[in-house]
């Protein structure tokens, strides 16, 4: 039973990470109806930003500032830079195509993703960059419940993930910006006619969504301990899965989808075999899509004529 709970905790941690990436993905889909294939690569950029912040402050062995402050700087900087990058991508590549056929921005998004991945390869090289998390956040600083151990990084990831998700939920449901986002998601033209600044709303959505991916990237770096230019693609795939399982465009769906995916992955790895994890996850996704194309929490789309 201890094994079960241990896997559950591990799964929830990874799931929180997936959920954060999936949230940005699903938000962008909500307002633009665009599958942003470049979203996973923003995760990768965030992870690199975190790595360079650690190096900047003396490296993992000799951090020159208090560790909590370091973490705050990592998260804030990663969120800000990836958020800005997301806004720039929208401005540069997606906005001119807003009224083009649906397939055009999708292909552009694939191009952006490929471009970002190879830019990272050019700038940072193919060799993995190691975070060395245990050097500044000790393994023993976690908590132990019976035989289930939860280390400090996992607690951090879970707590921050929950805080961000709750915050996002409040933002979308309670604030003026959130209301504007929902309005744009329902009908962009009608929202524009009602005086909503659509361009600003879409930019803001991209900023928040991309920033979440950046934060998730730092979390991923802390958890997995290494960064390579190709992690973005895998993260993107996982985010798709989470978003689609939850129902694309639905924010609670993305959260639950992410957690579900993380737990499922963890159990498959723990109880069956790590060789087949990805294959089984893909099979799960395709099964969900066949049985419930609108996802577990999504509503069936009405086709407008």
């Amino acid at each position: 039973m201890a094994f079960f709970f241990q896997e559950l905790v591990n799964g929830l941690t990874i799931g929180a990470l997936y959920a954060l990436v999936a949230l940005g993905f699903t938000m962008v889909y909500g307002v633009l109806k665009l599958l942003n294939f470049a979203h996973g690569d923003l995760y990768m950029v965030g992870a690199y930003v975190g790595y360079f912040v650690i190096q900047w402050f003396g490296g993992p062995n000799a951090v020159s500032i208090p560790v909590p402050l370091l973490l705050v700087i990592m998260f804030v900087l990663a969120a800000g830079l990836t958020g800005g990058l997301g806004v720039a991508i929208e401005r540069f590549a997606y906005r001119p195509l807003r009224d083009a056929p649906r397939i055009a921005p999708l292909i552009t998004a694939i191009g952006i993703s490929f471009f970002l991945e190879n830019s990272a390869l050019l700038l940072f090289g193919a060799q993995p960059r190691i975070y060395n998390t245990p050097d500044f956040i000790s393994f023993s600083s976690g908590i132990q419940i019976g035989s289930v151990s939860i280390d400090a990084v996992q607690i951090l990831v879970l707590a921050l993930g929950v805080v961000l998700m709750v915050g996002l939920r409040l933002l979308v449901n309670r604030t003026r910006l959130g209301r504007q986002m929902r309005a744009v998601a329902v009908d962009r033209e009608a929202a524009e006619m009602l005086g909503i600044n659509v361009n600003f709303t879409i930019s803001a959505t991209f900023f928040i969504g991309s920033a979440l991916a950046g934060v998730a990237g730092v979390m991923g770096g802390l958890l997995v301990n290494q960064v390579t230019p190709t992690i973005g693609f895998i993260a993107g795939l996982k985010a798709f899965t989470a978003a689609v399982v939850g129902g694309i465009g639905s924010i609670p769906g993305a959260m639950l989808g992410g957690l579900l995916l993380g737990v499922a992955e963890s159990f498959i790895t723990g109880y069956i075999s790590s060789t087949y994890t990805n294959l089984l996850v893909f099979a799960l996704l395709i099964a969900v899509m066949l049985v419930r194309p609108s996802g577990l929490f999504g509503r069936a789309q009405l086709q407008k004529v």
Binding site: R91, I107, G111, F114, L123, L237, L279, V305
Partner: protein
Amino acid sequence: MSLDSQPPVAGPQVGADEWVARQAQRREYLPSWLGAGQRRLERVGWWPRLAIAGLAGAALPLLGLGGFQLQVGIDALVIALLAVGLNIVVGWAGLLDLGYVAFFGCGAYGFALLSSNQLGSNGIHLPTYLSVPIVVIGTGIIGLLVGWPSRRLIGDYLAIVTLFFGEAFVEFTNNVAPSKLGGPNGIVGIDPISIFGHQITTNAGYYYLLVVVLVLTMAVLRLLDTSRTGRAWRAVREDPLAAASMTIPVNRVKLMAFAFGGMVAALAGIVFAAQQISVFPTDFDTPILILIYAGLILGGAGSIAGAAAGALVVMVIYDGLLRSPTDSGYLFYGLILLTLVVKLRPWRRLVAVLAATVALGFALHAIVGAISARAVAGGPASTGWVGGALHDWVIVPASSQAAGNWGYVLLVCLLVALVQVKGRWRTILLVPMLYLAGFVWETKLAGQPAITRQLMIGAILIVMMNARPQGLLGARRVEVNT
């Protein structure tokens, strides 16, 4: 009583077919004499044009192309065949298939399993005339199975399902049944293709085979394009709902596109496997998919000739030109110059920008060189006369890694800024950007062709979609206002 059983009506027909056919003919031509040439070329008819292109392709090795060029040609033809097949799904039926490369893999792996020692105790060595139809039809059926979800999935969901199908293929061949599929080690020792008892074992043989296969496929697809099915595909692409209300069986038509696309990809896979003598899971991964897309988009989705030409151009650049520092230098500066000549009007502005760029370069080089000799110590990475001409123009520090990195980031930022600003500022920004492009090329990109070519593929997709979505050869369809 079904409508299908009625005899065809003589005389002008009004209906989905007619409407789509008329719609397809509304197109824009290039201005002035270019447009006249375009119209004249169209009057020649499609099959003489195809035959001439095929003969020209077949004549190329006679000009004395050596081993390396021949290999580039083979790779380019394989990708062209794939792009032509992808055109059915993406260009005609308008379905974003991100797992297309898996059909290529299915064809290659299918042929490999049927023509090697992999299955059974002594292996299966089916003769070509049996294995090719089995693999092609089998892949077509897989195409139908993958397309099946598209019955219920609208647009974007299909892209995701196919993307995962593509990923699943790579995972599958990597992990499942390593004794049969070979895992990461792939399958080696594949039989050559034999036609009429003659085994093809040389690269030249495969080159000719590919030219023949490509030309035949293009001819068949051209006939398919003008058929009832072809028109149905385009109707579904433009508006599935309108197509459905005009009695086009939308789901069946989509499935057919998947099956046909898969079959063409299987053909490419078979020739690829036989020519390489081996297949590996990584041969069928996402970069190849994006390469095919880049070819299709560059040439123009929706046109057979465009897809083939675009893929050939992309592959010759990707595989051939970018490998040698001399050729890639010509290509890079040539493309920049060409873009400027085409885009910058009037010519006075063009001359001013070029002169300013040249002057800026020499001035910067002289100033920086006077301050620190080390900062200009590294020569340009381009060789040949381009490198010689640039020697006193571009600043290349002795240790150029960090400088190149910052230059690259700055270049991308400038590029984004350039698109955002308008009017005079654009011209002014262009000068430092051109110089920076030269700097980044010489310090960073030219030295890393493997990454540069991937960047080029990504850039093609982004730039083409924003600047000319119909591709270089494709004609823009005139939108009908509703």
